[in-house]
Amino acid sequence: MIKRLLSSTYLVVLLLMLYAPIIIIAIYSFTESRVLGNWTGFSTELYSSLFSGGVNNSLIDAIKNTFIIAIVAAVASTLLGTIAAIGIHDMKYRKRRVVNFMNNLPILNPDIITGISLFLLFVSLGVTQGYTTVILAHIAFCTPYVVLSVMPRLVQMNPNIYEAALDLGATPFQAMRHVIIPEIRPGMISGLLLSFTLSIDDFAVTIFTNGTDGLQTLSTYIYADARKGGLTPELRALSTIILVVVLVLLIVVNFRARRQAKQAEEQRITLKN
């Protein structure tokens, strides 16, 4: 009993330590003070100024850029990665190993190396860096994760059902659409979500590929801001909002997963009977 109490206390203390900085941000998002850590009375000013455009345009631009880049990169990575995974799955063992190795490179590489290597590529090719280069760079480090999340689905799939569809007169395209895609969809979705979050959170690769024309994402904006000596206060409100949205999403997903598991269990029991 005491042991249990001790161990749960440990978890709680550790969680408190992890959450302390975030809790501070959330608390100080309800005060107007420019400096984090200085309480000047309760106010929702930061939230209203975030939504009414009271903040400077460059922050709004950075937020827009972050989302545009993340959406484009995530969708492109999911398409490229899914098609690639289907192809790789069908390859001979030795070639498959080579491709898998190349696919793992961006995952194993620290992001600073990915950033610098792509920077050198764009510089050598004489490409002006900007939107396109950032998106290409994000596709480069997101797609491997899509391949990795789609692949297990393909491996689990019964290869005969694709053949069966062909035998029953489906064109390869129809077989793909109605047989393979539904089977691998969960992998595609988790790849898409993973890419989206990786892209939104990226800092190291973006800073090396965004060029000198002043293209900023949220990360690079915060970095520039912090170097100038402080976080734009509205970012406290934005971070709090992101945290709450993610929390709600996770609760919903968790709740749904639990309900589905329960349903599956019930179905299994009725089938047994």
Partner: protein, 266 residues
């Protein structure tokens, strides 16, 4: 023409070709370019001058060793804090455990730089000085979930009957842990080490913000060189980092394989 195109892509293995080309252009060639730049002098010929400069310039070399030290300390603290947490988590019932694991991962959704600035605020709030302590706290804070998660995964999947068997054979709880549970959780620790050590050794920005620019890590040195147009030297430093990471991953790979084999034998 069109039918040849259709025929080519009706073989599914050919579907991987666009991605393979993409990988070559955006992953393989850039990495080769790092090597190319690293061994090139400013006037374009082959040279080792960038590496000589690294050895002769105590500042960069010192930063390099210091960064490895910080990464090691961070990794060790993460193991010491993370292992017990993973162990406790693995003993909870699965639905509670899932919620707690989620709580551990949730902070990762706040932008890394915002979290780092929040750590700075926390230290200010508690009137603690910003420096090495803050740096290590910030690193542990950022990477601890990456240690807990893989260890938890391994512990949770561990075959309970092995523990019961050890108990039946008269092992004390301590022996059960040191002889059975801990060796079997090695693969989790190894992947945790990979996921903590590698990013810590390559971070930049985080260190700058946590120490008010007082402590420089190797990542920062690389970034500064690249930003200041010293691509060749920056590439050489990147290559040195890549080598360290390659060595670590080789070491941890064989370790993980060994541990997996041991697990298989059992």
């Amino acid at each position: 023409m069109q039918s040849r195109f259709v025929k080519f892509f009706s073989r599914r293995r050919n579907w991987s070709i666009p991605y393979v080309l993409f990988l070559v252009v955006f992953v393989v060639v850039p990495l080769v370019l790092i090597m190319f730049y690293a061994f090139q002098s400013k006037d374009g010929g082959f040279s080792l001058e960038n590496f000589q400069r690294f050895i002769n310039q105590p500042e960069a070399a010192n930063t390099f060793i210091y960064s490895i030290g910080i990464a090691l300390i961070t990794t060790i603290i993460c193991i010491l804090l993370g292992y017990p947490a993973a162990y406790v988590l693995a003993r909870l019932n699965s639905s509670t455990a899932r919620v707690v694991v989620m709580l551990f991962i949730l902070p990762m959704w706040v932008n890394v730089l915002v979290r780092t600035l929040a750590t700075v605020a926390l230290f200010d709030f508690l009137k603690l000085p910003l420096g090495e302590g803050a740096l290590i706290f910030g690193m542990v804070y950022n990477f601890l979930p990456f240690m807990i998660y893989p260890i938890y995964n391994v512990l949770q999947k561990m075959d309970r009957s092995l523990i019961e068997a050890a108990e039946d054979l008269g092992a004390t709880p301590r022996q059960v842990f040191t002889r059975v549970v801990f060796p079997l959780s090695m693969p989790g620790i190894v992947s945790g080490v990979m996921m903590v050590f590698m990013p810590t050794i390559s971070t930049f920005a985080i260190a700058e913000l946590l120490t008010m620019n007082n402590i420089k890590l190797f990542g920062t040195t690389i970034q500064e060189n690249i930003n200041n147009g010293m691509w060749h030297y920056g590439a050489a430093l990147s290559l040195i980092m890549l080598v360290i990471i390659g060595i670590t991953s080789l070491f941890t790979d064989s370790e993980a394989e060994e541990a997996a084999n041991d697990g298989g034998l059992l």
